[in-house]
Symmetry: C3
Amino acid sequence: MSKPQYTLGEIAHHLGATVKYKDESASTASLNRVISGIATLTSAKEDEISFLSNSKYEKFLSNTRAAAVILAPEQVPYCLVDALVLSDPYLGYAKAAQLFDLAPSPSPGIHPTAVIGEDCHVADTASIGAYVVLGRGVSVGERTVIHPHVVLSDHVSIGNDCILYPQVSLYHHVSLGNGVIIHGGAVIGADGFGMARNEKGEWIKIPQLGTVEIQDQVEIGANTTIDRGALENTIIEKGVKLDNQIQIGHNVVLGENTAIAACTGISGSTKIGKNCMISGMVGFAGHLEIADGTIITGMTKVTKSIKKRGVYSSGTGIEPHETWLKNAVRFRQLEDMMQRLASLEKTKDELTK
Amino acid sequence: MSKPQYTLGEIAHHLGATVKYKDESASTASLNRVISGIATLTSAKEDEISFLSNSKYEKFLSNTRAAAVILAPEQVPYCLVDALVLSDPYLGYAKAAQLFDLAPSPSPGIHPTAVIGEDCHVADTASIGAYVVLGRGVSVGERTVIHPHVVLSDHVSIGNDCILYPQVSLYHHVSLGNGVIIHGGAVIGADGFGMARNEKGEWIKIPQLGTVEIQDQVEIGANTTIDRGALENTIIEKGVKLDNQIQIGHNVVLGENTAIAACTGISGSTKIGKNCMISGMVGFAGHLEIADGTIITGMTKVTKSIKKRGVYSSGTGIEPHETWLKNAVRFRQLEDMMQRLASLEKTKDELTK
Amino acid sequence: MSKPQYTLGEIAHHLGATVKYKDESASTASLNRVISGIATLTSAKEDEISFLSNSKYEKFLSNTRAAAVILAPEQVPYCLVDALVLSDPYLGYAKAAQLFDLAPSPSPGIHPTAVIGEDCHVADTASIGAYVVLGRGVSVGERTVIHPHVVLSDHVSIGNDCILYPQVSLYHHVSLGNGVIIHGGAVIGADGFGMARNEKGEWIKIPQLGTVEIQDQVEIGANTTIDRGALENTIIEKGVKLDNQIQIGHNVVLGENTAIAACTGISGSTKIGKNCMISGMVGFAGHLEIADGTIITGMTKVTKSIKKRGVYSSGTGIEPHETWLKNAVRFRQLEDMMQRLASLEKTKDELTK
């Protein structure tokens, strides 16, 4: 598999970057230089480009061997190689990386081993991999890639330009918009965790009659699970990005462009606003409402609604186990400590009045 | 796929509910009314029923457009439409929802692409989906549905009326009782995490010789993992309900009718009693015993056995990050604070004696 | 499926154990005794062996029905049956258990339903199961077992003596050394969670150009996910053992022989040293460095680098919910408590000077 190659001029054009030449007189030679990859400032070779988006790495700029560096205008004076100047170099890195992606792009067409149910509609430009199973009435849009071993149950609807990686499973009636990416092993539309207790104390299953609606440009990480709604739908709005091993309970709504890191769990019926940033291993109780733009740090326990955007946390910091043991015991005595403190204050007031 | 429809009379009969008519003179018309779904009080349409089981939603009863509402006797006076009266309306909702479930029911028979090993026994009424793989000596009971892409390794035994969703994997010798439901991507019977260290500091694998025994009416969520026992079996007793992405270590025993919410992890050899309710993202250390009927709130760290049933918690509450940072620093000084408090109390005693 | 059987002499030889006979005059009979399993001291039958490695179980030694017990020299006097004497009985148990493992060993060869892409190299002694899909340019080494429904994308490279359980998915260019075991549903090489925000506040995907390198003797648990690197590789060094449902972010490095329990998550670019022991449900922030030999207890929140090996913890201990509620409120007042304590100390100093 040959690695993609571009001239520096082609890359500058792709990024919409202004080129600031190390040597103006060699500008044509610079633009024709063949670039075969992108790497960090310290590891880039002469035929690769690099980028500088975090001031922490400024110190590496003067020693990089990269052919050129994507950077902001104020960094140009410190750059000793050609510069690709952009107001947002990190976004430039994202766009440049797209050029060098080696991820396979399967050809359009339906693999002969795929099992296609009745009344399915698969676009001619879609790619359906080996051993994919489509139930009845499934639709797959233009240019969508369904990797091997994906199972789409009855009446699943998938838009254009989606990518479903191996072993993704969508239960019946789940719908995906356009440009949705779902990584391996994700399960979308399994039953929400709903049950009632009968007179004998046994749990009686509550069938989950809703489904999951995933809007455009959503990305879902490996082994993430999103449950179908109990009566209404679970909704993942446009542009939401979910990392791996996230659990989304039934009837959750995730607002536009919210990003959630790995291992976070969201209990049923909680509504998260737009443009939130949720770190990893955060737990949300059910039936909460979280304001737009809220930021929550890792491993926070969210047990009440957040009405005002801001940064929120819970828990305690890491410390040596020996001291932690003592402090954790004292935590259980906090109420008592507060009472004793108040009593001392009363005595002080009496003694000093 | 046409939605199921029932008359109100059929539904009342199915629920064992008493009908309380809005207009007694139109009782026959009421019973013959065609119902095509169940929805919340606020979203139900004229051809749907609804239910009231949580007093929080009482305020919506008078405005519902539902054809009828499942409710408790004491709510009848406030209901302006027909009422389906039951002592436990939530259980009634569960039963009514069963009528309107659109989940596909595959036909009996073995899909031609299924690979069936030697000495398997598959009941005639069972359904084996596309690309299912059965190892040697596997048995599948009456009316059990094995969805596409399930892998059952050698000597797996599955009872009657089970449902295994796509991409479930059962390792060798795992056994399931009757009425077990396992959602997509769950892995049952993988090796427990057991190893010994050799003289070079390398880990030597301890083969896991036990298996997993899952009793009747257990439900297991998507991408949940249950490890096989080291010497004896991991046991999931009758009626246990597990949500998604739960991890059950080797030799764990979960007692009858215990329900566990998503993302909880239980370390090896811990025994959880009957009728416990464990919230999401709870972590259990190994070798613990948890009393019957114990309730544990979300994200609790369970590091010791619980001998007395009750409600248990750990952690701290969510707060703005700025104040959290200060309080978390103080947590690490709690032992010191307690010493200083005790010293002040001693001084007070001297000053005030 | 017949259970394996060995004479006690064969087992002693396999373990390199010294036999200490209950009755020296019957030593030949002892060595010829047929053993058909290994079990705990309390459950072992007359044709099984047992082991004693934890002094907690010493009390069961005198009553065991086992044919022989693997134990340390100092335990010999208390053993009333034959003893298999080893300096490390737990390691002996690990080796003995290997003899009695019933896990199926598939025969070499490629199942007719496997789909093999162009330019693949599969060793003659490898076993490729039903419905396995290999992309282009995949290599599979000697004696490696690929169970049914595994998907290996383009240019995946797998060494000798590996085992990949059903429904493992390796994305393109992932490489595995020798002796690697990956349990069901694990996804290796999915995209790291990398994105940049554009001027409209939308997330732009950063293609993940690195891959995942897994060295020799690594074991990876069920449904664990390991993301590919952004520019360089995610690296799992030799002898690392990962339990189920672990999440490893992009560009993480795990040092040799480090063991990590279930449900732990490690954010991008964090480097964990060699020989660390990380408990379950631990969360690591990104870009940290953790010293060799560090031990971290369950559910710890690791938000800063650890430079000195030791045992580390965070969080609070479990307690009844009612008292927890009060103490958790006081946690939020800790900064205030500390100020009031300091003020009291000042008053004390004034009063007692």
